[in-house]
Every structure is written in C-alpha cells, then in structure tokens.
C-alpha cells in the first residue's frame, strides 16, 4: 500500500477579466462561465511508498507550493485525486498561528491543537517538545520576546512532536542554528526510518541529496523529470542555466547513472580521461593516489574567453572538491575556431571509499550563469578503494593521529600501536605467504556449485555430492587444481544406504521424505519421492584420513536431514574447523530427521557456538505468500532496530552459522589468526573479523 497516491492531478485557478464578471457569473441566469482557467499544474501522477522520501524541485512558479497545499488538503484539486493514508502533517510555515502575547507553552498547545492533536497528546509530548526546542525557561515567557530562531525551534518541535504518516516539508529545514538543523534532520530521518513518508520542497540541494530516495522536477506545472535525486538535480541545474531553450541531453550511462549535458556549444569537451601518474587510463583509484584528469576541448566558434571548471562529485551528486581556471587565473583568451586545448589537472585522490564522478564545464567567466558553452555531469565514473590506509569513513581521506593518554597505575601510553593491525589488514590481500597453508573448504551437498569467493586463489575446495552425474558436470565447470569434486555420500560411517531420490534431485536424502507433507504444502512437492537407489557411504573423518587432508577450516553442509550423521562422522576433523554453515530444519520434512536442536546440541558439545541464522525458509499452505501479515524487527545491540515485513507460513529451514569458540579466544599462532581473518573476510563476516583484529 502506498502512503501517498497522486493520480492525474491538475489545478487551475479561475481568472476573471474583472470583478463584475464573477458577480455576473454568480447571479445572471444561464450559468455561462465568464472566467478563463489558468492551469498551474497539469496531469501530475506519482505514488510514494511508506518510508520513502521524495524531493520536489523546480523554478519559482513551477507549481511546487500548489502541489503541496493540495496534498496538505488546504487547496482542492480541479481534476484528479489525492489519496493519503494516515495523518498528514505539513511544515509549511513554522510559527503560523503563534500569538505574540502568549507564552511558548500556551502557543505550543494552540499550534498542536491546530495540527489536530488532542489535549492528552500535547500534554504527553510537552516535556519532549520543551526538551527538543531547547528554549529553557523561555517556554513560560511570551513569544514576543523570543528570538526568531527560538520561535522557529519551538514551532518545529511542536509540528514534529508526534510522528505523522506523511510529512511535508517546504523550505523548513533551515531552522535555527547549525546544531538545531542537525537535530531536526536527525528527527526527520528517524521518522523516515519508522515509516514516515517525506515530501520535501527545497532549493537546498544538499538536503535533497542527503535525504531523498527520489526526486521530481516540476517545470511549468508538469513533471519534467523524475528519478534519482542526483540525476534530477543535475537536470535542474541545467534548466536553471539554460532558460533560453538551448539543448539539454540526459543519457543513461551503462551503470544506470544519468549523465546530463547542456551548453551552447561554442566550445565542447570532446574527451575526459582519468589517468594515473604514469599517464595510463584508470577506473579504479586507491585512496591517496596521485591522479590526473585530462580534458580535451575543441573550439567550434571564435570565443573571447574560456574557463574550464572541474570537480569530483560523490555518488549523491555532492561536489567533494572542484574549482575552475578563473580562480586559478588561467583564463584562455581569444580562441579561434578548430583550436584544441588539452587541460591536465593533477591532484591526489584523497577520497573515501566509494564511487565518484567527474564534473566538467566550459564557461565564459567564473560562473555558469554568464555563458555556458558545455556542461557535463557524471562525465567519468570511478571507484575509490582502500589499499594501504587504515579503515576510515567519510568522503575525504585525511591522516589522523591518535594520541592516547591513560591515567592510572601504568605509565601513559604515547602511541597506540597500529602497526600490527595495519599489517594484518594488508595481509588479506596477499595471503598464502604468511598464513603458511591454503585454507581448506569442504562443501557437502555441493550440487549447483560453490560460491565464487572460494574459487579464487588461497583456498582448497572439496565438494561432496552423491550424484555422480552432477559431480561430472561440476568437475568440468571447475577445471582448477584447487577444486576437487568427490562423488561420495557422507554419513556417520562406512556402509550401504538407501538414497531416496525426490522430484527435485536437490531434495534427495538418506531419509525418507514425509509423504503427508506435500499434501499440506504445495511448495514442498519438490521433496516428493520418485525412486530410491542404494549407495555407499563413508564418514568425513575416514575420507580425510584416506585422502590425506589433515585440516579443514570451513565446512558447509546442505544434505537434507543427514547433517547430524555427517557431523557425528567428523568428530576428529571438527576439532580443527573454524567455521561451519549447516542447513538445519526446524520442522521435519523427512521421517525421523534430526532437527536444529539436535544439531545445535551436538555442535555445542564439540566446542562451537551459534553465530547467526540466515535464509530462513517458510512454507505456507497457499504457496507463495501474498499479503503481509505484520511486521517483525531485528534488534541490534538493543538500540538499533530494523523492521521488516512479515509474511505467513511455518518456519522450515535456515542456514545456521557456527564458529569455533577458539576463534574468539587468543589465537594459537599468527598464521592461524591470519587464516581466520582471511576466511571470515571471505565468508562475509566482518563482525568476526573485527573481533579477531581486536585480539592482539
């Protein structure tokens, strides 16, 4: 369900030639209309989902305010409809309805009532309003002695005291001082996280870029463009400079980003390249690398003056840095047709990890308003990666030195020793040298292949599957010395067992599928038995002894019910295993199958601890779930809560990730620690890695 649905909305104001015409229209019989309609909005349609933030931009008079007023409900649309769900609150004009002679508290009450809160709600929120507005004892003073900032703060606090379902913000974000602005942003973001839909009209591009998921550009009462905020704002910029109707183009780049170009064309940028210090083209840049941006400009018509502007924008379209040749006193003068200029800009890529784009523009003098020859946003996109710097956040790299002084019994520490940590992080890239041996991965039930991440260097992978045909296919796919496919069925020990082959071969099991189940859950028909064959089994311990595999670091088991048997046959091997991923069932699919609790008990006794459950699979009678039945939440550290929709069905299986409790205690050797860091990095468990890095 969408929070806001706007359907073919149009608005016209009645325009009478004079005041008498209206009177005539009202009074004279016949009802002939004597007005013209002045359309300010035409055929606007869009929907906004709960929790989405939509930015609305446009030149003055484009119809933004009218649109917001209609959504607020003060103005009625001429045609079309607006459907909103829940409470709509608008921060259109803060402090409206405040009476100067009354105290802040009294005004807060009235303003709240005007917003439709009842007295109980306001009383309950009063403490929080006071606290948020931070006006202290002034709350009981008449509003006339407030500074304008205080009035705004109070008004904002009241207007946002109760979370609305749709919040409309019209240029109201720049309230108060920098600190309060920050706070109000936080509050708006928090609302958004809790599901409030935001509609923001602002000329503050930074605000739109940082909050909105989507933006709409209104021009002459129509939606001129809608899409990602970065693309829309680039286009808007172009419109602002190109009001004389010159050409603007918008191209989708291969990676889905939008590139906006505009300009009158007297001079054109014909090539932009990103080079390293050795003049080789690059698309990936490491933090702090010296880079060069080379821009080739062709002059199409004689021009008297040319300024090149160049900068780097982050993925939100915010300029990280940039300047132009006007500021560096390098304006080129009197250029003739067909001349070519090559600009080379050198700088250090002191950027944070992420994706960036190059912006370049050719203008006549210092600003693009004067004369804009050519303007390109998102010209060249590059990635910044961190090779040799400590891990950091943000869009800017800056060396930070921590000096730590500790008071107490011990002498003060002058330097925290980061050397070891840095060395370890760096070592993830060149593993094998220090970690002494390859990391051994065992995938039991490897039908459909391995994760890509294990087939790179540094790993030795063994895959087990009882289906010989599947094993042959996999062997052909992985023609690598580091991958072995073993067509062996694993169980607790050597012997002959029946393999119950099911409709979907991946569901085949050493246990018999519960025939009743498929009747209840249509989606479980994959586990319907179609035939059975006799197969030889062995245990992992026996196989490892015979094959000379002394040590296994990671085991993944996905074997439809026989996981406990396999684990029981691997008690020796398990002692060295650092991490396990086991598909476990919570409700039986096969007759007499061990469930999660059995596996869990066994692994705990073997010294493993459960780290997380992923890929929880639910089945419902109706097949695929259609309607959301509620909401569930995941809590992190009790403070952070992430909500997700909940659908029906019964929990059947999930992947249980276990780690050896030794991993979290002091490592045996540095080599072991390095292997662990590498392994858990590859497994995508950076939380465990940070644990490991912390253990020094």
């Amino acid at each position: 369900m969408s929070a806001l649905c706007i359907d073919r909305l149009s608005k016209a104001y009645r325009l009478y030639p004079n005041r008498w015409a209206r009177l005539a229209e009202w009074l004279l019989p016949g009802g002939k209309p004597r007005h013209e309609l002045k359309w300010v909005l035409h055929d606007i349609s869009f929907t906004v989902q709960p929790g989405e933030a939509l930015g609305i931009v446009g030149l003055n008079g484009a119809g933004k305010s009218t649109l917001l007023k209609m959504i607020t409900g003060t103005t009625q649309p001429t045609t079309g409809s607006i459907t909103t769900s829940g409470r709509v609150a608008a921060l259109l004009e803060l402090g409206l309805g405040f009476h100067p002679e009354f105290t802040g508290r009294q005004n807060a009450f009235i303003a709240g009532q005007l917003l439709g809160y009842n007295n109980e709600e306001i009383k309950r929120s009063m403490a929080q309003i006071e606290e948020f507005a931070q006006i202290g004892d002034y709350i009981d003073q008449p509003v006339r002695i407030y500074s304008s900032g205080m009035q705004m703060r109070l008004a904002f606090s009241v207007a946002t005291a109760i979370r609305p379902d749709v919040l409309i913000i019209d240029e109201a974000l720049s309230v108060g001082d920098a600190y309060f602005q920050h706070k109000s942003f936080e509050r708006i973001r928090e609302f958004q996280k809790l599901g409030t839909t935001l509609l923001i009209v602002s000329h503050d591009k930074a605000a739109i870029l940082s909050i909105c998921n989507r933006a709409i550009l209104l021009n002459d009462g129509k939606i001129a463009m809608q899409g990602k905020p970065e693309a829309v704002l680039d286009y808007y910029n172009a419109i602002q400079t190109e009001r004389q109707g010159r050409q603007i183009t918008c191209n989708a780049l291969p990676d889905g980003q939008m590139q906006t170009q505009s300009g009158s064309g007297e001079a054109r940028i014909t090539k932009i390249s990103l080079l390293n210090a050795e003049n080789e083209p690059i698309t990936t840049v490491y933090v702090g690398q010296p880079i060069q941006i080379r821009i080739v400009v062709t002059i199409n018509q004689d021009i008297d003056s040319l300024v090149l502007g160049c900068g780097v924008k982050d993925r939100f379209g915010q300029m990280v840095f940039g300047t132009n040749t006007y500021h560096t006193n390098q304006i080129l003068c009197d250029l003739k047709r067909n001349e070519t200029c090559v600009y080379t800009i050198s700088c250090l890529a002191n950027l944070g990890v992420g994706s960036y784009s190059i912006h370049a523009s050719l203008v006549r003098s210092h600003s693009h308003i004067d004369k804009n020859y050519h303007w390109i946003d998102n010209a060249s996109i590059f990635e910044v990666i961190n090779l040799d710097k400590v891990e950091f956040v943000g869009t800017l790299w800056n060396e930070m030195h921590f000096q730590i002084e500790k008071s107490g019994m011990q002498p003060a520490l002058k330097h925290a020793e980061p050397a070891l940590v840095i060395e370890k992080q760096a070592s993830t890239d060149n593993l094998g040298e220090k970690s002494n041996r390859e990391i051994v991965i065992v995938d039991i039930g490897c039908r459909w292949g391995f994760a890509e991440k294990f087939t790179r260097g540094g790993y030795r992978v063994y895959g087990f599957d009882p289906d010989t045909e599947e094993c042959n296919t996999l062997s052909r796919r992985y023609q690598s010395n580091s991958v072995s496919i073993v067509p062996v069925a694993l169980a607790e020990g050597d012997g002959t067992r029946t393999l119950h082959v099911t409709q979907e071969p991946a569901c085949s099991s050493l246990l018999r599928p519960d025939p009743k189940l498929t009747e209840v859950y249509p989606a479980l028909s994959c586990a319907r038995q179609v035939s059975s064959i006799e197969i030889e089994t062995t245990s992992l311990d026996a196989w490892a002894r015979r094959s000379g595999v002394p040590c296994i670091d990671f085991i993944k088991i996905d074997t439809q019910g026989s996981e406990l048997e396999i684990l029981k046959g691997a008690t020796i091997t398990l002692q060295g295993v650092r991490c396990l991923e086991v598909e476990v069932e919570f409700n039986p699919i096969y007759l007499d199958q061990p469930l999660f609790s059995d596996v869990d008990q066994f692994l705990r006794k073997a010294g493993f601890i459960l780290w997380k459950l992923t890929n929880q699979v639910h089945y419902s009678k109706e097949g695929a779930p259609e309607t959301q039945i509620g909401e569930d939440a995941i809590f992190y550290d009790e403070k952070q809560q992430i909500k997700h929709p909940l659908y029906g069905g019964q929990l059947y299986w999930a992947n249980a990730h276990y780690i050896n409790s030794d991993v979290l205690s002091t490592p045996d050797s540095e080599a072991q620690q390095l292997r662990d860091i590498t392994l858990f990095t590859t497994l995508g468990m950076p939380d465990v890695v940070s644990h490991l890095v912390g253990v020094t």
């Binding site: 007023k69 103005t75 009625q76 608008a90 259109l92 009354f102 005007l114 439709g116």
Partner: protein
C-alpha cells in the same frame, strides 16, 4: 455529519481559541478581566440611571421609572449580540487567510469561535442586567425563560447572515466596506431606541418587514412588561434565520475551495 465530527475533533482548538481571544483582550491591562465586567456595568448604569433619573425619559403607557431604561437595554443588548456576530463573521475568513491557506483544519471552527466569543460577552453583560432587574424588583419572573428561544433565533439569524457575508466578502470586498454603514442604518430602522408605536402607521408596516423588529419586540415585551412574547410574530424571523443558515452553509460548501484560492 463529517463536518460535525471534524468540529468535535477540534473542540480543544475551539475552546482554547475562545479562551485566548478573551484573554488577549485584557492582556497588559492593570485590571485584567475585570474590564469584562466594568465596561458593561458602566453601560447599563448609563442607560438606566442617566435615562431614568437624569433625563426622565418615559415610555408611553407606563409610569414606571425604569421602564424606558429596561426597554433600551433589552433592545441594545440583544442587538449588540446580533451585530457582534455578524460583523465578526463577515471578516473571519479574511482575517484568518494565512491559517486557512497553510493549515488543513475544519474551517467551520472559525464561525463557531466567533459565536462563542460573542455569546460570552453577551452572557456577562446580560447577566449584570438581569442582576439589576432582580435588585430593582423588575425581574419578569417565569417569562424570563422565553428569552432562550428568542436568543436561539437571534444567533441563528446573525450567523446565517455573517457566514453568507463572510464568504461573499472574500470575493467582493465591497461587502466589508459597506457593512459598517448598513448595520448602522439597520439599527436605527429597528425600534430599539424608540418604541414602534411612535411611528406613523404606514412606516410601521415597513418597519415590521424588518425581521429584527418582531424579534427584538419579543425581548422588549418579555423584559419590560413581563409578558410572554407574541410567538406567532416570531415565525417570520425564525424561518428567515433557518433559511439564512441553510443558504450560508450552501454557499460555504460550494465556494469553500474557491475561497482558499482567492485568499
């Protein structure tokens, strides 16, 4: 019904707006809310003491000392309520233009606030007047109850006219310009200061077309002579009041949206 519900939801807003308007009148005065009593007290004193004792004004057909004073008060006080409601209501939408344009709230709360404020002012002054009647022995007794339906008709008529003019005033500001003069004319064309029988019979016929004439006559009969008013004569103002309320609401429904655009 939806509108009534919306009004109910915003009852707290209505209540505190009334309170705020009342308070703001007496903010920064030394005597505070006592002015709400002092002013009407002085007015009643003026009408009663000055007219009866100083000017010896007499009402035809009675020999009572205070008869004319009571006649005057009955007319002026109820006319005061009527004119306060109409004159406030005809500017209410213009005065609150900013609020109406920016905040979505039930617009009918505004006339409700106007009526309530006028009613409070009237209650104070009329309460004092009733007290005077009690003290001076002119209290009409059980007939006093007749005032309730009369007031209801008066308020309905006032708000009917007020809302109609309030809406029209948004589109045609001439209404606001002419209102002050017209209400003055109306006041003098209604037998308030003078009794109706001093007029020549032809003129009386015309004056009787004025719906306020029978209505105010009701107040006067009740308070001066202690008699039940002529109920049949109230039919005309009552029906007119009902019609005006209906017309005002109809106008409001039809032009509310356009009104916001025009403000």
């Amino acid at each position: 019904m939806k509108r009534i519900n919306a009004l109910w939801t915003y009852r707290h807003f209505v209540l505190s707006s009334i309170q705020r308007e009342f308070q703001s009148k007496y903010r920064n005065t030394l005597l505070g809310a006592s002015w709400a009593v002092i002013n009407p007290l002085l007015m009643i004193t003026l009408y009663t003491v000055i007219f009866s004792q100083v000017m010896h004004a007499r009402l035809q057909g009675t020999s009572e000392n205070f008869a004319y004073s009571i006649y005057l008060c009955a007319g002026i006080l109820s006319w005061g309520l009527f004119s306060e409601i109409t004159s406030r209501a005809q500017t209410v939408f213009l005065e609150n233009a900013n609020l109406l344009k920016k905040i979505n709230f039930p617009r009918l709360t505004l006339p409700v606030i106007v009526i309530s404020n006028a009613a409070i002012n009237f209650a104070i002054v009329f309460g004092l007047f009733s007290l005077f009647l009690l003290v001076s022995g002119y209290f009409p007794g059980i007939v006093y109850l007749a005032l309730a339906p009369l007031l209801a008709i008066l308020i309905a008529m006032a708000i009917g006219i007020g809302i109609t003019l309030g809406i029209l005033n948004v589109f045609f500001r001439d209404i606001g310009q002419s209102f002050g003069v017209i209400i003055q004319f109306w006041f003098w064309l209604t037998p308030i200061v003078y009794p109706v029988d001093i007029l020549p019979p032809q003129i009386q016929a015309i004056v009787n077309l004025n719906p306020m004439t029978p209505l105010l006559a009701g107040f006067q009969t009740t308070l001066v002579f202690g008699q039940w008013p002529n109920w049949e004569a109230q039919l005309y103002p009552a029906l007119l009041a009902l019609f005006l309320c209906g017309f005002g609401l109809h106008l409001f429904r039809r032009h509310a949206a356009e009104m916001i655009d025009e403000l």
